[in-house]
């Protein structure tokens, strides 16, 4: 698998994503600076990593969404390339309109870092195929703005189209409908708050993130 991990000023999970892909599926990973206007050719996956792009000042992900590289991501996404946004990456995807909704301040108003249990709501995506019959998985999460919001109409559409991929078993932040991760209508852009990139081997407390990368590899082969 050939993947690109985007790097914005303030990204801090860029290396984690690279390691996760290399470790779990031996993928080839290129780091791409936010000023680039083109992405490498032949990508199977674009990862928008977690962190605090531009300090998360103003609004999480707002300034990163305006970066030159995001125009290229939009083009690739339209061509059907897989795009995975984790944490700040999810916020950037929402801010750039590639995913519906927005992420608000956590209802407790605090940054929350903890292992969290998720139900896999939709196993029929290229990101979740390899989870098999697994009902729930553990990953950790760490964010201050993970409270998913969409207006009534969008939320209904998200649910009706089975775009919810992960839900929290116990809601940590006030997210509507316990939403932890959603996918776009076309099924190639996924955003999620929990970190598969911190759960790719047992030593880290959970390896439940690894099947996500395996799914993507399977999707490439298929």
């Amino acid at each position: 698998m050939k993947a690109a991990v985007l790097v914005f000023p303030g990204s801090n999970c860029d290396r984690d994503c690279k390691t996760a892909i290399e470790t779990s599926v031996k993928g080839k990973v290129e780091m791409v600076w936010h000023q680039e206007t083109e992405l490498p050719s032949g990508l199977d996956l674009i990862v928008i990593p977690g962190g605090f792009s531009y300090g998360d000042y103003l609004r999480c992900g707002a300034m990163a969404a305006q970066s030159p590289v995001m125009a290229a991501v939009r083009r690739e996404a339209e061509r059907g390339v897989s795009v995975l946004g984790i944490c700040n990456g999810f916020q950037i995807l929402c801010e750039s309109g590639l995913l519906p909704g927005a992420l608000l301040r956590n209802s407790g108003l605090k940054y929350v870092c903890k292992p969290i249990e998720l139900t896999i709501e939709n196993r029929a995506t290229r990101f979740t195929n390899a989870y098999g019959d697994k009902q729930t998985v553990w990953m950790t999460q760490g964010n201050g703005d993970g409270n998913f919001f969409a207006d009534a109409e969008s939320l209904k559409a998200i649910e009706d189209n089975e775009q919810v991929v992960f839900r929290y078993v116990e809601n940590p932040n006030g997210s509507m409908n316990n939403i932890a991760g959603i996918i776009n209508r076309a099924g190639n852009v996924l955003g999620m708050m929990p970190h598969p990139d911190r759960a790719f081997e047992a030593a880290l407390g959970s390896a439940d993130g690894a099947p996500m990368f395996k799914s993507l590899v399977d999707a490439v082969v298929a």
Binding site: P9, G10, F52, C113, D197, A203
Partner: protein, 745 residues
């Protein structure tokens, strides 16, 4: 640039004070000022006086403690660089090095808890990456006033969100720490932050300027009027009028820090850096003076070139500003362009602001005039060094067991597990990103005695901990100093790591008082003794004195931050995986040390009695045995015994593992003594039933006291008529802090 010899004083400020008066205002003593006059052969001007006052402040010169800090052992087979640089450096094999240090931000955090704590974290990270290391772990040791005190809740709220706000954004996991509450900190809280980084052992960067004629580059954020006189503020007592003296608060920008880390490491990798130094306390002054001074050179700076955030800044303000996220580097000849390319990429302000030379002087130009021209050597060589008078500090007498009041063991357990010092700090550490960098093996939440992070891409891991038991140090500074070191050593041992070296943060009151100076001297004696015996050298540290308000000093708090190495992280252990049927062994001797225990304080409100004696021989022998049990895979769970003694350690083990423990008292001691004595050098070790006799034999052979104290069974904690469910215990331990923070406790 060329140094000129005439010195033009900056425009006089309105009601002109005499220089001697100003010197006093800046915190210089009359005899210190006399030395300045003597060395210069003339009166200093404002800028020069400012430079002297910060360089000779307690914070920068260590004038009260330097003499005693020399007692610390600072060398060892793994020490690459001991105290004296920005941080200590140790060898962790395979050409890799670990760089770490701890530092206080006590005064700023009391004034503005969020920014004070945040900038404390930022400052300590800069000390570490300045030497070429990528920061990989953060710790913090916090001491707050009593929960009922008016300011405490707001301070906890602010400090914790400041630490999280900064570390989380930069993207370095906060993996361990400690938090105490005591009325002794009502007027002066302690915020000690530690940073641990990784570097290649042959790519360590130092601050000494290597040769003349090299460009001096400033990069990072712009300079504003932040925290002017912060270093001298950190060297005076608080009083009623501190509010007025209060400097403009420094505001941290963690985003800028993240960019600064990446740019600094990239600049270093490019080969352009000849020497480098962060701008910490006393900013541009201490960084330029130290770089030139350590190199035996001179330096000239043109302050007009300094990137400035505010208009009309004076030379004095620029030299004393403590604006955050700034660095000073000396580049190799002709490498300015490399620098500018990297700074531009990361969006940082940068400028060549000066040059090294051979004059042995620091010369500052502003608006085309020389505003400061000082010889460098007096700034460091003639810095005051005090052998302050001290008296042997008062010591709590040994408390005979017969005088220890008796409580119901179950009631006492609940009281202690729920008390502010023992209660779970989940509310706090859930606000810290503990997993970023994807190498965290253990952290505050996992049930280990130390935080552990992998050395990226290897089988190795670093174990880190921070420890001090101020009530012991107060009761007996010498034993308490020893204990802080021993507990840190024990915590590293208990996860299976080889303890390597420590950093320290010596927090005390006013050293001009002989009783306080006595605490400092004796605590250092005790620490040094323990470091020597345990082959645990001190490689970096920080001293914070004058932690007093209206004449009341904090409890003496010499915090120890320690680092250990695991060669194979699969051999790590915690107390979170004890399984039903396993046997619980107690390693170490229980004589019944009840003085200065949590039992006395929490159940009876008594803060009396000599603290537990630290026997370094047994500490070593017991630790070596425990490490062997871990290495050979026999130990299935290990927890050191500290606050609250055996029963509290057992309770923590049961909670972390989710299994019940049935314990007995195999000794002649009364149950309440056996349960809550805080004898040192002890561990609880869980082993498979079949292995127990073997382990006991091994211990006997090593002449280490060991006894069977229980077995893992059911879902209750059982001891001497006490039976409490894990659910109740958990509720007891978890509820205090969140309830307190929401105003309900």
């Amino acid at each position: 640039m060329r140094a000129m010899t005439t010195v033009t004083a900056p425009a006089p400020q309105k009601p002109e004070k005499s220089m001697a008066q100003k010197a006093a205002d800046y915190g210089l003593k009359a005899d210190e000022y006399a030395v300045i006059l003597d060395r210069l052969g003339r009166e200093p001007n404002d800028v020069e006086l400012g430079v002297f006052s910060v360089m000779w402040s307690e914070h920068c010169s260590y004038k009260s403690s330097r003499l005693h800090l020399r007692k610390f052992p600072v060398t060892g087979p793994r020490v690459i660089c001991g105290p004296g640089e920005n941080a200590g450096v140790i060898d962790i094999d395979d050409g890799q090095a670990c760089i770490f240090k701890m530092e206080s931000h006590n005064h700023p955090s009391f004034i503005e808890p969020y920014q004070g704590a945040a900038t404390g974290v930022g400052g300590i990270m800069r000390d570490v990456f300045t030497m070429g290391a990528r920061p990989v772990a953060l710790l913090n040791a916090l001491r707050f006033g009593e929960p009922g005190h008016l300011k405490t809740r707001r301070l906890v709220e602010g400090v914790v969100s400041g630490i999280g706000g900064y570390g989380n954004c930069v993207g370095v996991p906060t993996v361990a720490g400690e938090t105490n509450f005591h009325s002794g900190y009502n007027g002066n809280i302690l915020v000690n932050a530690m940073c641990v980084g990784l570097a290649d052992a042959d790519k360590i960067f130092y601050s000494a300027a290597p040769e003349p004629g090299l460009p001096v580059v400033y990069f990072g954020s712009k300079t504003g009027r932040d925290g002017i006189h912060g270093a001298t503020m950190a060297s005076v007592e608080f009083s009623e009028d501190s509010e007025e003296k209060r400097p403009t608060v420094q505001v941290g920008d963690p985003f800028a820090e993240k960019l600064l880390i990446e740019a600094t490491l990239e600049l270093m990798a490019s080969g352009a850096v000849a020497a480098i130094q962060d701008m910490g306390a006393a900013g541009l002054t201490s960084s330029s003076v130290e770089m030139a001074g350590k190199g035996g050179l001179g330096i000239i700076l043109d302050l007009d070139k300094v990137p400035q955030r505010e208009t009309h800044m004076t030379a004095y303000e620029m030299m004393l500003s403590e604006s955050q996220e700034r660095m000073l580097a000396i580049l190799k000849p002709g490498r300015e362009e490399d620098g500018y390319r990297i700074f531009k990429k990361w969006g940082l302000d940068a400028a060549v602001i000066g040059e090294t030379n051979t004059t042995g002087r620091i010369v500052l130009m502003h608006h085309g005039e020389v505003v400061c021209d000082l010889p460098l050597s007096p700034l460091s060589d003639d810095a005051p060094l005090y052998d302050r008078p001290w008296v042997e500090p008062a010591q709590e007498p040994v408390l005979p067991l017969a005088d220890v009041p008796v409580a119901n063991v179950g009631d006492a357990l609940i009281r202690i597990m729920a008390c502010p010092d023992m209660a779970s700090k989940r509310w706090l550490w859930e606000q810290y990103d503990r997993h970023v960098m994807a190498d965290t093996l253990s952290d505050s939440s996992t049930g280990h005695d130390a935080g552990m992070v992998r050395v990226h891409g290897t089988r190795k891991a670093l174990a880190v901990t921070s420890d001090c038991t101020p009530r012991y140090v107060k009761a007996n500074p010498y034993e308490g100093g020893k204990q802080a070191v021993a507990e840190a050593w024990r915590n590293l041992t208990a996860v299976g790591a080889e303890p390597i070296a420590i950093t320290d943060n010596l927090n005390f009151g006013n050293p001009e008082k002989p009783e306080i100076m006595g605490q400092i001297v004796r605590a250092i004696d005790g620490m040094a003794e323990a470091c020597r015996e345990l082959a645990f050298p001190v490689v970096s540290g920080n001293v914070s004195l004058y932690n007093e308000t209206n004449g009341i000093a904090i409890p003496p708090t010499p915090t120890v931050g320690a680092v250990g190495l695991l060669k194979d992280y699969d051999k790590r252990i915690g107390y979170n995986k004890v399984r039903l049927g396993q046997v619980i062994l107690l390693v170490g001797e229980t004589r019944g040390e009840m003085g200065s225990t949590l039992y006395l304080r929490e159940v009876f409100g008594l803060e009396i009695g000599a603290p537990p004696k630290v026997d370094l021989e047994s500490e070593k022998a017991n630790g070596v045995l425990v490490r062997r049990l871990i290495r050979t895979g026999v130990a299935r769970g290990v927890h050191d015994l500290s606050d609250g003694g055996l029963l509290c350690a057992a309770a923590e083990m049961a909670l972390a593992s989710g299994v019940g423990l049935e314990l007995k008292n195999p000794s002649d001691l009364d149950d309440h003594v056996y349960a809550f004595a805080e004898d040192q050098a002890r561990y609880l070790v869980a082993v498979d039933e079949a292995a127990a006799h073997l382990v006991i034999a091994q211990a006997a052979e090593a002449e280490v006291p060991i006894s069977v104290v229980g077995v893992a069974t059911g879902s209750d904690l059982i001891f001497a008529g006490l039976c409490v469910s894990l659910a109740t215990l958990r509720e007891t331990n978890e509820s205090w802090l969140p309830a307190y923070m929401s105003g309900k406790a």
